[in-house]
Symmetry: C2
Subunit: 338 residues, 2 copies
DNA sequence: AGAATTGCTGCATACCTATGCAATAAATTT
DNA sequence: AAATTTATTGCATAGGTATGCAGCAATTCT
């Protein structure tokens, strides 16, 4: 029951604890024979190094904190899984923090600091500049995932949401729609702001107004927003939704009143979550370059952890439009024209 | 940049480190004045206790390890989020491990042990009896979530899958179907075994055969399995799927070939994930009592952590059938009969 | 006033590992 | 054979907190 320590091994073999420690870390200076003896006994006695003691000694916890909100939105579990398995493969452990509301992120940080995380990754949540400063004072590098700070005080990697919004606008413009709308995500997220503003700007440049409905990145919000849109006689025929879940809600709302998606009305999402490809929805959407975003943020973070702390650093990775069936096909007139 | 420690506080105030430590933990023996002075300075200097050092000293890491597979299946993110936020509220931190394949769970455990986790929760994955023994030798309590060990060597809380299977069988039997099928989940999971055997047994008792198609808890598997089922002329009219995702795949496959779900064919799932309620699917399913399962497993685990390590302990919590539109309604004849 | 109690604080050490430096023994060089 | 180098190991300490026990001053009791 009592944990076996390196001292136990040392006593058992009649050697010093330091030799044991070095033998177990394959230090070249230890005689091969001794090394093997130690490693063999360690195995036999079921020795497990104490990471706490090691951290204390080395001043490195080998811990990466991940704080994530919206964990139940289908996009993020994939991110979380990839992150943790890649970190594990690289020898890091992950300390997980979840939060619903934005304001709680700040409350969580002291805990991150207590556990001496070597680095911090914040997904789909932001960071007060006060806390960003605290972290930097402690020398804990942090990168934001899919969100960036207004004051650019911390590094971040995002999907190129502005580019994505433009892509959608152009795509819809190219297939002769006449009344455009946007169903928003949660306000005060850079994600929503960027997708909306770029989409809207582009359409306005082309001479169109765009109707706007509030939302919050959920199915229910998408459903309700679509109902509102359909309540008027001149309801839109081209709708960009802040994310896929919202779009799916919108599709279900349209179907419920017999409006045909992909012929009478076009709907585009953002993310390309697995459900977007499901037969019932077949949603045209912008695919977030998740793998690239994950790799990039990991690289950024670990570099900062291992080398010198780098300054603020923003990286935007473009998404790609994946065409499915929720947008009107080009009619012959438009085709001839192009 | 240099972290401020309790020693720094002590020096600054000209008192001993032990007094600082006690003052910060609100030890009654410390004079109120001193306590306040210390706490005030701690705040001012931005003191953060070092959890590593504390763990080393107290022999308690306040860490709960969670290992989870199938993180991307929609059921588990919810579980993970609930678990972490409840643990946080109770003062615990969570060390997250994810794994795809079963065999990797064993490889992960040494890491759990290195970090001195006070307890371990394994979701949707199992544990070799060898490792269960190792853990118990280390005195680390473990509870399995939604999976249980064949040899009952570790505690577990599960949905009552057998009860659920029976519920489905009875429900389908009650609405005059004639050809039954089961689309399986991953083999070698207690979840799949229990759902299947109870369902099948009940139907066989009632004199029916049940056709079986392999699967693995995914949309694609459900889709493919349904295609196989529909390939024959006497395809089933009542299908129980190992989980909701599988059922949704099956529904899409049926729709693709024009088979009407809820009238020509009945499909029932298991889990009641949010998508089951989506308009396009409207899936009748067994709702897992997630909250109760989470609370129960947490209670079980934390009790074992804080008190004496308890022996093996199994808990099965019944699910409830939620009726939606994917099953044939009772026709008048059947209704008259009952 | 002396004795006992109470209130508050400090000393010393445990927890476990990693690592700079010194020490010893063995091998090599001159 | 003496001097230098190489190989291997041990000593001692840092890292930050918690805590049993002792110490001291102030208060209360007899």
């Amino acid at each position: 029951m009592a944990r076996v320590t390196s001292v136990d091994l040392a006593q058992e073999l009649g050697i010093s604890q330091s030799t044991v420690s070095r033998a177990l870390s394959n230090d070249i200076r230890i005689a091969t024979k001794t090394r093997e003896k130690v490693q063999h006994l360690a195995l036999k006695m079921g020795y497990t190094p104490n990471a706490m003691a090691r951290s204390l000694s080395t001043q490195q916890s080998k811990l990466i904190g991940i704080v994530m909100s919206e964990m139940t939105s289908p996009f993020y579990p994939f991110v979380l899984e990839k992150l943790t398995s890649k970190l594990h493969a690289l020898g890091w452990r992950v300390l997980l923090f979840s939060t619903d509301a934005q304001h709680e992120v700040d409350d969580l940080l002291p805990l991150v600091l207590e556990y001496q995380c070597d680095g911090l990754l914040i997904a789909s949540a932001s960071l007060s500049s006060h806390m960003a400063e605290t972290l930097s004072r402690h020398g804990t590098p942090v990168v934001l995932f899919n969100r960036y700070a207004a004051d650019a005080s911390s590094s971040a990697v995002c999907c190129d949401n502005r580019g994505g919004g433009r892509l959608v606008a152009d795509y819809l413009l190219g297939r002769s729609h006449s009344r455009y709308a946007y169903i928003a995500g949660r306000e005060n997220t850079s994600t929503n702001r960027d997708r909306e503003s770029s989409y809207t700007t582009r359409l306005e440049q082309a001479g169109f107004m765009v109707q706007r409905e509030a939302g919050n990145f959920t199915y229910e919000a998408g459903f309700a927003a679509m109902q509102r849109l359909l309540a008027h006689s001149d309801s839109p025929d081209a709708i960009f939704c802040a994310n896929d879940i919202t779009a799916i809600g919108a599709i279900d709302a349209a179907r419920e009143v017999g409006v045909k998606v992909g012929t009478q009305v076009s709907i585009v999402g953002f993310d390309d979550i697995p459900m977007a490809a499901w037969g019932a929805y077949n949603l045209t959407t912008i695919r977030q370059p998740v793998e690239a975003m994950i790799d990039s943020s990991l690289q950024m973070l670990l570099e900062a952890v291992e080398n010198t702390p780098l300054g603020s650093n923003l990286r935007f990775i473009p998404g790609v439009l994946v065409e499915r069936g929720s947008v009107k096909q080009i009619n012959t007139k438009a085709k001839a024209k192009s």
